[in-house]
Amino acid sequence: MPVLGIESSAHTLGIGIVDNGRILANEKRMYRIGNKGILPMRAAALHTKNLHSALKRALDKAGLGIRDIEAIGYTKGPGLGPCLEVGMLAARSIALRYGMQIFHVNHAVAHIEITSHMCRACDPLVLYVSGGNSQILAIADEPYKHYHVYGETFDIGVGNMLDSFARDAGFKRAWGSEVASAAVGGSYISMPYTVKGMDFAFAGLMTNAVKMLKSHALKDVAYSLQETAFSMLCEATERALLLTGKRELIVCGGVAQSARLQEMLGLVSAGHRARFGVAPNEFNSDNGAMVALVAEKLLRAGARHRLEDCSVNQKYRVDKVALEWK
């Protein structure tokens, strides 16, 4: 029987339905960011308002009724508190009302799992890049099976950096993809480059880029910012690829939608004869299907999550999660 997943950690409310790894529905309702970033309370209010219609539409698309659903999963964190609570409360209510099993899911794990699933990767090195997170991970066995963080940002996530730059540059829609559009035809200016082993930092780079807007053309600054940031990620990833000796490299999370980043990582993996994989963009941005997928894996593995553990955790670390289905 199918499993339902609710994702609401940030700007997107996602409802996904998965049956045996097949995605039957992947509905999304997005909060419009504009030039102000995400206002958590407003985003949460919008998710609450959209919840019923998104759920109904997902069920319709899958040709199912709510009673056909076997279990439900939701995003426990990391994310914005008020937004996470909407998904958590909805999942708990549905689980109680219809007597379903409920599973809490880590947002990062969900991103990684859906990409692994779609790329048929077994044991990949993972670059997870989104607004709030930028990490290099791979599965480790000790002390329990989990995604070990080999490298990560010392300060802000790469997506957050691109969004903040877009806001400061006065973009009407302050998104990373708008920075990519602005970068077309730009030429390279030197920028601060911070990689330490497999870790990296973006805050200084962003401040510098914003200052450069006063003295340089926007397209040159946008181009150089993007090239510098992505090169940093690639260098750290390449180092981790050599260290771990993994034969597969995947990229996931919102920033994985960038065609340029995909191209660069393809070149990194080709240099070490590793297979490179990325999911279709629908599954790189936040979505409910990835949560449903992990919930289904948990269910099939015989895991049980107690209702009282089904809370939210804004700073839920990916390396704290035991991969119960592996």
Binding site: A140, V149, K196, S231, L265, D319
Partner: protein, 205 residues
């Protein structure tokens, strides 16, 4: 064709000879993924910084390969033949010999820090042991700085890669060689208390 000895993420190391002496060349190769200007700048800056660090460490009294020649992206240095300390730790080594090596590499860290530089990747994998003499290799991530933080990170990396008792031998050598060792030690303690990275204790390589 030169014989490839090892390949890292940034560079390849080949065996060669220079003026009839056994030597290696560390060659930073271009990366196709990044734009040409950035690629060129990173490779040439890092080659220069590494050569400078290698020379400075030798002057400070650290046993390290001898710097022979620097080109745009190439560093020629004397070849140190021996066993990597990491391998020695795995395969076992007599306690007396290990103690001496640990004190020596502790002292090397102290000498580098006294000369206001940090190695940047100070792990057993970057220590070569020849006979009973330890040599420090790979200054690719070295920084010339008086910052306590960078120096403390050298200690942290070594601490994470060594068994507890081994690290205390290491620190004995360090304290003797560096008069301001207290400062780096107390920074090491404060870095270890920073929450975010507490879970990152998997020992690797």
């Amino acid at each position: 064709m030169m014989e490839l000895i090892s390949e890292g993420a940034e560079a390849r190391i080949y065996a060669t000879s220079l003026l009839g002496k056994d030597a290696v060349v560390k060659r930073r190769l271009p990366k196709r993924y990044r734009v040409r200007q950035l690629d060129y700048a990173l490779r040439s800056q890092r080659t220069k910084t590494e050569a400078r660090a290698l020379a400075l460490a030798s002057l400070a009294g650290v046993k390290a390969p001898v710097l022979l020649l620097v080109d745009d992206f190439d560093i020629y240095m004397s070849r140190v033949r021996g066993t990597n300390l990491n391998r020695m730790l795995v395969h076992g080594v007599s306690e007396g010999k290990l103690k001496k090596i640990l004190r020596d590499i502790g002292a090397y860290a102290g000498l580098m820090h006294a000369a206001d530089m940090a190695h940047g990747d100070y792990t057993p994998a970057n220590i070569m042991v020849s006979g009973s003499t330890a040599y420090v290799i790979d200054f690719g991530l070295a920084v010339m700085t008086s910052a306590v933080e960078e120096k403390a990170l050298d200690l942290l990396l070594m601490k994470r890669s060594l068994p507890g008792r081994a690290f205390s031998s290491f620190m004995k050598g360090y304290r003797k060689a560096y008069s301001e060792s207290k400062k780096t030690e107390s920074r090491l303690n404060s870095i270890e208390r920073r929450g975010r990275y507490q879970t990152r204790t998997l020992t690797i390589g």
